[in-house]
Symmetry: C2
Subunit: 349 residues, 2 copies
């Protein structure tokens, strides 16, 4: 069994090459030119290292240099289109910078968020990306105490820079699209646009409601309180509310702004009970994107939060080395019905 041999260290390579450990170290970590090691020495050492299957112990290096080469990200769940595409981007950008990404989900549990941030800090992550935190400021305090640069994605923190999707703009685009393309109906109540789903305590939803309000008021002169049904994100609740709305109106409204994929799923489970022609005089929009939206029996406008752009901006912020707490806005994309979006990683299944 040769398989159980230990991994070689710089001391092993030093012995084999006749050079000292520090020379080996320099030869192998790229600093040899700066350290004025002879080219032939360096090459020789590198050759031996390769032969021996040497690779640096990154824990040891991290310990010595007090930076690990790890970048951390915390998010609520992996199992979600938005967050998983963030992971994908986060990772790609980390690789571009020679860093090793560590992504952890916290299940929207404040305790878990704190524990996770502490764990990542214990592994000496060089910086931390935080998304979907329930209590940003508590996390910032921990990071600040540990001297770890951090940035919030999609949800602003007061104590650190943040990159957020421009919810107001996205909702405005979607609202306007709905209002401008929806049919004129005789029934005044059915002829209006309705906003469904989400929680106005939530930063993102509050901004979207605000934009919906503004746009509807702008286009139709006024808006009534019952046009906004912020019934939370749970699919079941959305199902009930959409059904109640349609029962009240005697049919689908002319316009429907659905404020999240989960609410959309809920609405859909009511929609499948409807005949196809029920959708003839209704324009539907969904804030959030899922490719399957393209395959429904009725067209639906979707807003796609550009996760890659959010992540890219965050990295750029760190690259720039700026230090003041900024709020960086990223515009979302309005996706026309029946569009199958091809993203950066679209060809991979």
């Amino acid at each position: 069994m040769t398989g159980s041999r230990q991994k070689p260290t710089i001391y092993d390579i030093a012995k084999l090459s006749g050079a000292s450990p520090s020379t080996v170290s320099a030869a192998l970590n790229g600093t040899w030119k700066a350290r004025r090691i002879g080219e032939k020495t360096a090459k020789k050492i590198q050759k031996i290292a390769t032969q021996q299957g040497y690779s640096a112990n990154l824990q040891a290096r991290g310990l010595r240099k007090a930076r690990s080469g790890l970048v951390g990200m915390i998010l609520p769940v992996h199992d979600n289109r938005f967050f998983s595409s963030m992971s994908q981007s986060f990772e790609a950008h980390a690789r571009d910078r020679g860093l090793c990404p560590v992504i952890a989900s916290t299940l929207r549990d404040p305790q878990e968020e704190i524990r996770t941030v502490e764990t990542l800090i214990s592994y000496a992550v060089d910086s931390l990306f935080i998304t979907g935190a329930t209590n940003p400021d508590a996390l910032s305090e921990i990071c600040i105490a540990a001297n770890v640069p951090h940035i919030y994605i999609d949800l602003p923190g007061k104590l650190a820079p943040s990159v957020v999707s421009d919810n107001h703009l996205g909702a405005e685009l979607l609202s306007r699209k709905i209002l401008q393309t929806m049919p004129k109906l005789d029934d005044p109540l059915r002829g209006r646009a309705y906003f469904i789903g989400g929680d106005t305590d939530d930063y993102a939803s509050a901004r979207r409601v605000e934009a919906f309000r503004k746009t509807v008021t702008h286009e139709s002169g006024d808006i009534s309180g019952d046009q906004i049904i912020a019934c939370g994100y749970a699919p079941g609740q959305a199902t009930r509310e959409v059904k109640a709305l349609c029962d009240r109106l005697g049919g689908l409204p002319a316009g429907l702004f659905v404020n999240s994929l989960t609410a959309f799923e809920g609405a859909l489970s009511y929609f499948v009970t409807l005949p196809p022609q029920a959708f003839d005089d209704c324009v539907i929009g969904c804030y959030d994107y899922d490719p399957f939206g393209a395959f429904l029996q009725f067209p639906v406008h979707m807003v796609r939060q550009n996760s890659d752009k959010l992540i890219a901006r965050a990295y750029e912020y760190f690259d720039a080395g700026t230090t003041k707490a900024d709020l960086i806005m990223v515009e979302p994309d309005l996706i026309p019905p029946r569009t199958i979006y091809k993203g950066r990683f679209a060809e991979l299944g």
Copy 2:
């Protein structure tokens, strides 16, 4: 600026408490009972540590103990329902064991897979979960050389234990369901079941085709080669092939076994061009699950690979400390049409 202070070490705590570093170490890492440290000493130290905001430097611990407390997983992409739910399970199980999960995607690039495995090994991961590898054996060699326990998920490796979804069983269940519920049509060609999508070079698909073959032969006495259209996973290709098939048959076949979500997406982009009644005499099944399948205008049976079970079995294997290279089979679930599956993390958006 108190924020820029360094993190306290056991030496700081030692000074403050009057105890020695090793006593502090034991008091703070839980080994103090075994080390026969007095309870009051331990408590005092712990109190001071908390006050000082101490947390262990896990790199240093890892270096000393030669195990990092990290568990690695590599997968092709994050941005995929199956893999992201694997991530979710992988992480939950890691947490249960007090380990820190590091998940890396390799974009189905053999070079990237190797680089990533090497990186994770350099961080001294305690074990490695590998899924969707293009060249398992090469990765095993690296892991074996570095003495890192590893396990393959969903794709068997020859040199290490593997937990795989029982593709044969899943395909058999789905095939049987399709065959037993599909309508009897007068047209003999339309009256058959067809298999579309996937690549027979691929381990999983090969097993599925095998099961489809067997089941069809068993139920209808024989099978013709043109019932199997393994046209790859690309949506575009599936669109073309489904369209060609329907053109040839003069309508949808009585049964259609679609062999992946991506192929299904492709089929759907043809289906949206069809009138709803086109689906009246066609039973559709899809190997792989997406909740949006529940919202289509026609019913579709889906097979859900139970990612949580795959991961759980893999962890159990390590827990058991067994060493021989096993092949562990996990049965997938057949999901009836219009079912919105509620998983372990279903309530989290």
